[in-house]
Amino acid sequence: MRFAYTFLAWLPRALLVLVAIGLLNFFLIRLAPGDPATVLAGESGASDTRFVEEIRGRYGLDQPLWWQAATYLRNLATFDLGMSYRMQRDVADIITERVPATLLLTSTALTLAIIVGTLLGIRAARRAGTWQDTLIGAVAVLCYATPVFWAGLLLVLLFSVSLGLLPPFGMSGFIRKSGIAAALDVLHHLVLPVVTLALFYFAVYVRLSRASTLEVLGRDFVRSARAKGLSETRVLYGHVLRNSIVPVVTMAGLQIGQLLGGAVIVESVFAWPGIGRLAFDALIQRDYNLILGIFFVSSIMVVLANLLTDMVVRAIDPRVGRS
């Protein structure tokens, strides 16, 4: 019941946001110099006006702006994201093919960041004031300050070029394997990109869980639990997790947008076949429909993620009211 209410309250806001994004995208790209007809014509070394006009007509680029905008919004509603000029395929198809790779990358990175960050944060809090605390804090700041693309390049230099342990790019080898071998191959390729992406975010969770643990450590029930002779560790972990799960989940939801941005870079560095890399390639080629589609889909993902975290938070702690 709670969920239904949350969903219904969320829906109109979300729709408004999506429409606004749709319109924003549409007009932004039209401001750009150059247009797809020219790019396509230029590619084939052609210099024929008739040819360029043919392309324009075929893609409706000769219609008035408002017509194009209205059509675009109407199509969005039916998930018709148009056709990619460059790749001659439906944008929705292209994106659907590439979304799983990005989801794999970002969700694994986020999970890794949360788990490692939380564990280290707890450790730092329990050993507050000691060298371990300082060290963990220093490592966290270091990871926080390291530019994503530089971290990626460094890791490749170390683990691929020097040590030859991990593959430097792609999601799998050239010749496709099948079954378990394929899964292992992907996993092998997943290591470096995930670590690169996770590096920055893990610092945030270290900080969060450290603060959270400190708070828990100071509470009465911990002392009374100790007095009762319960294992401090079990009590601690239990309460810390309960205490920090809400901020962690909230934070994760807020970070999805940034994660997708980080994915653009990581996917470019590692030639990971997700929508981040696709976005950049599409941008270079002025593939309007494709860029708009990716931007829209990413926004949907963020909006959905926010809804999900909202629901999870409510489920865990019904006392949490609307912000």
Binding site: R13, W150, F295
Partner: protein, 275 residues
């Protein structure tokens, strides 16, 4: 705040940052070569004449790094300033007036937080054609929400205070109250957030340049690293050293802002800098 870690962060961070600022200002004097000039043979590894080697055209990497500091710091400071102006304006109006105005402005702010910000930035920069101006503008348009939220909550707290009532009863207009009375009191936390925004701006510019969306008439750290990707395996020094400077700059700013006490600021949890 813990006593023993408070001063050293500001100290170390501030000192490093000050060093980079000096480097940036004195760049033409400090750099051993003109960073754009082809001063030596291409792809020379670090040696005595070229401390950090040369790039694929034969340009000195060290000189490029020194001049790159200018770009990074300028972009960082100007973007942070511009976005602070936007954020303060939005937040102040929302927090002070409340009601429908507040609700509308909150939606507006949320919109900018929902859209994947880095994708939006690359979109904007590509459309406006990469240049110092377009990069600063694009970054500013994206990083202001945390400031707005912070200022809004500060204003909501502060506007109920007595001195505000007193000012209003003296006949001061809303504008004057906002700017002269409340804003100065709201500034301290804004400064802490602001310093992190500088870091964000610097990282964003570096990422843009790395991906190729840079002003080709400037030398930027990100651009140096990005353009060296094709010779990445052979000429590792082209990627490592400019990246190191970038890292140290951001590190310094982070230390500094942590030292300034932002770590207990709840508003910060909403939006971390970087990507």
């Amino acid at each position: 705040m813990r006593l023993h870690d408070f001063p050293w962060r500001i100290g170390v961070g501030g000192a490093l940052l000050g060093l980079f600022a000096v480097i940036a200002i004195l760049a033409p004097v400090l750099a051993p070569y003109d960073p754009f000039a082809i001063s030596g043979p291409p792809l020379v590894p670090p040696n005595s004449s070229y401390l950090f080697g040369t790039d694929m055209l034969g340009r000195d990497v060290l000189s490029g790094m020194i001049h790159g500091a200018r770009v990074s710091l300028v972009v960082g400071l100007v973007s942070a300033l511009c976005s602070a102006v936007i954020g303060i304006t939005v937040g102040a109006i929302a927090g002070y007036f409340g009601g429908a105005v507040d609700r509308a402005l909150v939606r507006f702010t949320e919109f900018f937080q929902v859209i994947p910000s880095f994708m939006f930035v690359i979109l904007l920069v590509a459309i406006l054609t990469p240049s110092l101006g377009s990069i600063v503008a694009a970054i500013s348009l994206v990083i202001w929400p945390p400031v707005a939220r912070l200022v809004r909550s500060e204003f909501m707290t502060l506007k109920t205070r007595e001195f505000v009532e007193a000012a209003r009863s003296l006949g001061l207009s809303h504008g004057a109250v906002i700017v002269r009375e409340i804003l100065p009191n709201a500034m301290p936390p804004v400064l802490a957030v602001g310093s992190l925004m500088v870091a964000t701006a610097i990282l964003t510019e570096a990422s843009l340049s790395f991906l190729g969306l840079a002003d080709p008439n400037m030398i930027s750290w990100g651009y140096m690293i990005g353009s060296a990707r094709s010779v990445f395996r052979q000429a590792w020094w082209l990627s490592i050293f400019p990246g190191l400077m970038l890292f140290l700059t951001v590190f310094a700013i982070t230390l500094l802002s942590e030292g300034l006490g932002d770590k207990t600021n709840p508003n910060l949890r909403g939006n971390q800098p970087g990507l």
